[in-house]
Symmetry: D3
């Protein structure tokens, strides 16, 4: 492209002047051939980067400044402008080419944790180190030392769409939960802290195969048919079976932690929590997911410029409730 | 005991004259020390045999004709009479001794299938033989050739209390389902008969460890915490992992059959049926269990001497509905 | 129209080149006057044929090649092209005239069973012939001999939108159910095959007045206010009352089969199944409807060119579940 | 019996001195042979009269003062005393003989409306007379002129156990509803008063065959399998079909009123109210049944001597809620 | 504007010729800057008057005939035409100016009761006068004599969107309910008419602060967080606390009437009705709201020109049921 | 009584030898006159102390060693023995007299917290002191400085039957929650710790008037009709209204915390949590109540002598689930 314009992220477009030109790197999440009413062909795209996704239209696919050879999964550099159609933001792309290898970091193309993954991982390992039960410590070490598992664990999102739906989201969620469990465990003497932390670290591990995050976040077919609870329980069981002296009763408890962590049959747990550690895991997991949804919604409202007196949009993860940001609403003068 | 009386089964007592003496062999399912209002000690028992269970009282535990040394799990010979208390049948035991080894067959002490187990097993194996898919056939053969598994599969009840709650009930239910699936499969060309039959044969296999049937039918702790769906899926997965060339996609489908066979999340399936074979398995399994409950209730009403114009009792497995026995009600003259 | 182009069906348009001209005969399901933003009048239509329905626009209603005199319910010949608007296929019509009488078969204008209706009818009658109970056989013969009823029974769809929503769908569904019931009945000796088949043949007969299928498939007002269960029960009752010696108990059972066949109060059955035949009818009816929905969805995915690794769309009749086509997914090499 | 004692009703026994002798006429609702722990035979009875039912025991069935020849359904004269066992009142019967024909009125043996049935019937007919629509008036007259129907309509209870569960209860409930509907109808001009009253009078008419009230209140087999909604709709339909000029649209509405009056599918209505008259019928029917349950519970608490500050027992017909009797609680001094 | 055209209300536009010019006064409910695909700025508005709301577009905001200085909440005079876009009516505005003070009545800009508010208020007061209980009469007089409360009570809508969603709707609904309660109360002697009427008059009084009706009907933040039940109970409690001799038991009952009037926990009542007056209030409130929804839907269908044989649209307040207008459907000839 | 025997608490009786004599002080919770089958009068009692309640029988009320003058609510000294009847423990009382004033501490007669109330109160006040928001601190101080409120707050149970159902239970539960909230609050920066703690301290304060704990734990009539949510909100609102400068927005938030703390409409909260502090309060309150139920059940099983391999009884507060005591089950050797 001739002159370089300001590079922009998708989330910035909401507040960008309509019609003003921008440049940006994007991941192609969808590419479709279409025709206008007047039988002119055009391209319908969904483009994404780490801040979100947006529909885009190329009205002049024959323009030489539009590359021919890009497909779903490619990273492209695009120049265009934003406009609103029927209240929905849309991108109009005037120029587009494939990004050069090395020109842009792939992890910039998908939403990603704002924390340092290395630090999160170190935190996770230090929780493992803090365990006193040698069998549970060995189980966790064995799993996290597996380099394939570890690589996926560091990258996986915690969900396709709801809470922590970004690269590193699983790890971020688990570390948050470890910290929280560590605060809550001493309050109830009947809790076995080691079993609780083991449950925290393994409860969602099946997501590393339930989801794929190559091009956007998708369920795998295996993930759809089996679910992360079954996948995770199988992974844990296989590992425990490989440890010569793992106590059978403890194995049953670890599996029960994974199986029951959704807390209700209708949420896909085949068993309800029947030990105190499983009960607490379900509560904290649910609380942490919901608090993340609250925080995410407050951030979104801030980006959208909502006034402190306005309630948020309806939040799916909270039964479509609207929320109020306490601190903004009270403001300085009142508290 | 001095003179031998007619030996009797528990189910016969309902129509036995109250107060008339009988002899019988029973399994001791419960034994408790109690005291009467006037501070006299007595024994409270639950005795069982293959036809049912009954509360029993020994009002004179000090009587020399009452053995001292029997415990829960023992088989005893007892002499006594039946009476009704507050509408509930009860046994009064006057004499009791431990049964001699060999004097009575243990399998007579618990409810048991009315079919020949050897024949049922042969039927099961012939269904396996009829499979064309070599991987599925190998999977089933491997599992059923395991002598520990096979022994349990032949003995296990299909449930603790509901349908097929008797020794051999699991096998009887599975063979009935195989026959039914074999009739239904050709009606829908999109069904893979081999996968369907594999699902039928493996769907409840986890019950061999979810339940125990040594002294009465009970859940094991492992069974309570994990459930037969998880136990069965793990058994199948371990076996498929042990077969060098088992196709991964097929493995996912087999596991999905087991996981989804309850048909609803709230019934403990972590996944809903998403392939036609799983859908059909859920329907046939549910139908067969309900038809068995209907047949069982009709038998019970016949034993209780209900008139053809009376509805049955409320049937738990059918949402506490009452039923009508069509054939009895219509009788000869009307149809 | 000047030169004849290739005649096309609506289902073909999905894979037709956008903008390319075609000819076709269609039934007018909706006709509305509209105005563009620039105050130009245009026509908004819904056109249908046996393969589906589509929105159509006539942007130049004043064009002499557009007939003035067509209305909802007419069959027209139209020339136009297809295009996609906001992901939805749409037809643009350039020429349109009323079809001549005889030029096209009316039954080509609505979705219709792919089976031969005469053959289906013969199959139905042969099931009736196979009954041994003379009262039930007389009841069915009396109803099916009524030429008005018979004509409607052969034409009626089984539903407005869900399973078997096409001309002849009711008959096709009933014959499938008869075959299935015939396979299942011998498996359970407590079933009265004649009563079961009678229930199968009469359970949905009220649909011949609940639905209308003149112009599209619609509910009648009577159908909305009374429902096919009540309409069918009344028809059966009236017929049984007209047979001098029909046994009263048998009449109650036949009515109960019709009333309870939806299996749950919340599905509109005023009574739950209380006899084994009603229980089985509800299961098989539900299974056959769901299997038809599965088959229909697999066909749709094939037409849409989905890959074997993709799940289907969400299927309304299966609680909005997505499905996987087992046979495609496994493919040749794996099974 | 030698000397005549004060005759007593069952409801009076709750406040009767335990152990004091009484005489009374009762209907035998159940008769069972039993044996005591010490093998002595005794009789277990349920006796009833218009004020209620009670368990009774005859410990000396061999006593010559105890008749041999009485059965379920007989009216007997009994002498005995009341006592409480485990908090449940029970009768001990010392003497018992069959009542002589004419000695006692059969309608005294079952709970019965406290209103004059003749007067209620006259009120019902005057509501019919007040209708202006000739077709609806003819329909109602035709039905109520049928002497079999009329006799049953005057006797039938409105339910087996819940509201208005007494002879004449159906008529009492319908007349109360007519009065209420008559008050409410003018408030909403869009209501057709004639159709509303027709619905009120016919909505529960199926109960005359759903229930039997010969010996206690029971469901008939036909009632269990079809339900009063279907039985009533069939009766109405048959009558309308017999009237040469009954308008078809009006017939549909009358049937819809009957079918939808339970207001919810899960309460057994196959259709929800879709016309204003059906909506109002459902509301008033529900309100009247609940208000009768409230009144009945208040009466019961008064009989039991509850204090004005105590809540009532849990009321089944009101979701097991406890109630407070406003007027008693406020008392004189507070209001 | 140059020449005056016919002034029009929003509800009239549905049947107005598309493209034909009209004039009208409207309240601006929303004003947004937008850009077309071709980067031309335009204005997106929602305009309302007492008959409804409509989206409007100003494609030429730079036109000197379009005022610059109007905002949300202003009343404007606009000239334009109506057209349908994707089945949704839309206004195209060509000229627009601020309305002069006095030129139009603000109450014409929001939907408003069709009754005379003064008369409704007088009716309400006469119900208060009819009370015999001096404490309840004093309570109501104290509240309604408060001029701030009285002003709001006369203006408030009864809901944001559902029944009686118009200025004066609260008062209209309450007066309708008073009349209805007055008719029903004498039918049930156990009802305290004074307490019932007090409940009717106070049950929704919290809506005067739950809703705002300055610019459209909105929930206040306080309304969202506390709800009208809590706001109303607090208002009543504060007033009763201010009356020196208000009986404590009566206070509890009045509060209970307000708290329980939604009749179910899941509808936001923290307590279920436990006194007869609360039970009746809940029934009548629900009935009146639903009958108003029926009447409103029938009016809407009349305006839309639906035929008497057509069912209405789905009505949200009636579980998305469709309704039939009895009187229209039967017509003259049939009844 | 002549010779003093070992004084015993009710909970000890479960493991006491049947028939052995004991002495004890008990609160009379119920006293009823009864008659045996043989017309002998006897007394039926419910006696309680801080460890539980038990049914008791006095078979010889005429015995001079049985006091005549005791009533419900009195404390008595009784001598008797325990026995089991139909699996239910029962006391037989041989001697009974009124306890002398001062002979026994009334707080020993009802279950009571095992913590020191003075210390709990000091902990509560120190949490209040830790608040930074002056308005919230003033609100809490004003309420807790009220000596009537403070006295009740220190005594009240937290429930009638479920969690913390003992004297001081409310305070114990609140202090536990404060500690827990204090641990969790810093984990989520968007939480206002002061508002959260205020919610914790006030959420159940209405229980001081919803419940009475003079003789056993009962609901007051006011408590039944209004509930502790409404009573607590009214108390908080009245106090905030009495503070001249309490910020209105903050008042709304405090009330919202109380109203929404049950978390679901169907649990009696009229509003769902819409601010983060309310969401967290609901989670922690629920968790703490459930963990207390778990701990209580484990204690009960220990008292009942259950083996570590046995699951607990079904726990009402946990949806009738059975639980496993992790630590006991694993035992020493396994972990």
């Amino acid at each position: 492209m001739v002159g370089e314009l300001k590079d922009i992220y998708i989330a910035d477009l909401a507040s960008f002047d309509e019609g003003k030109l921008f440049d940006g790197y994007f991941l192609v999440l969808l590419k479709q051939q279409r025709t206008t009413k007047t039988n002119k062909p055009y391209l319908n795209l969904i483009l994404g980067d780490k801040t979100g996704q947006l529909e885009a239209r190329i009205w002049t696919p024959e323009d030489p400044r539009i590359a021919r050879d890009f497909e779903r999964g490619d990273i492209v550099k695009a120049r265009g402008s934003a406009s609103r159609f029927d209240d929905r933001l849309q991108m109009k792309v005037d120029q587009l080419r494939l990004a050069q290898p090395g020109e842009v970091d792939k992890t910039d193309m998908l939403p990603s944790t704002t924390y340092d993954v290395g630090q999160l991982w170190a935190q996770l390992l230090s929780f493992v180190t803090s365990l006193r039960n040698p069998d549970l410590k060995l189980l966790l070490t064995t799993i996290l030392d597996n380099s394939t598992i570890a690589a996926s664990y560091r990258e996986a999102p915690a969900a396709k769409q709801l809470h922590h739906a970004w690269l590193g989201g699983l790890l971020e969620h688990v570390v948050s939960l470890c910290t929280l469990a560590d605060r809550v465990a001493p309050h109830y003497p009947l809790l076995d802290r080691d079993l609780l932390l083991t449950g925290v670290i393994l409860h969602d591990i099946g997501k590393i195969r339930e989801l794929s995050w190559e091009v956007g976040f998708e369920y795998t077919v295996e993930g759809m048919l089996l679910g992360h609870i079954q996948i995770g329980a199988a992974l844990a069981e296989r590992t425990m079976d490989s440890l010569p002296a793992f106590p059978p009763k403890l194995k049953t408890l670890v599996l029960h932690m994974i199986l029951s962590h959704h807390g209700k049959l209708e949420f896909g747990s085949p068993k309800l929590p029947m030990i105190p550690e499983a009960l607490v895991l379900n509560f904290l997991d649910d609380l942490d997911a919901k608090m993340q949804a609250v925080a995410g919604e407050f951030d979104k409202c801030a980006r959208e410029g909502k006034s402190p007196d306005e309630l948020t949009n309806k939040v799916w993860a909270l039964d479509n409730r609207q929320l109020l940001n306490t601190k903004l609403w009270l403001g300085k003068s009142n508290v």
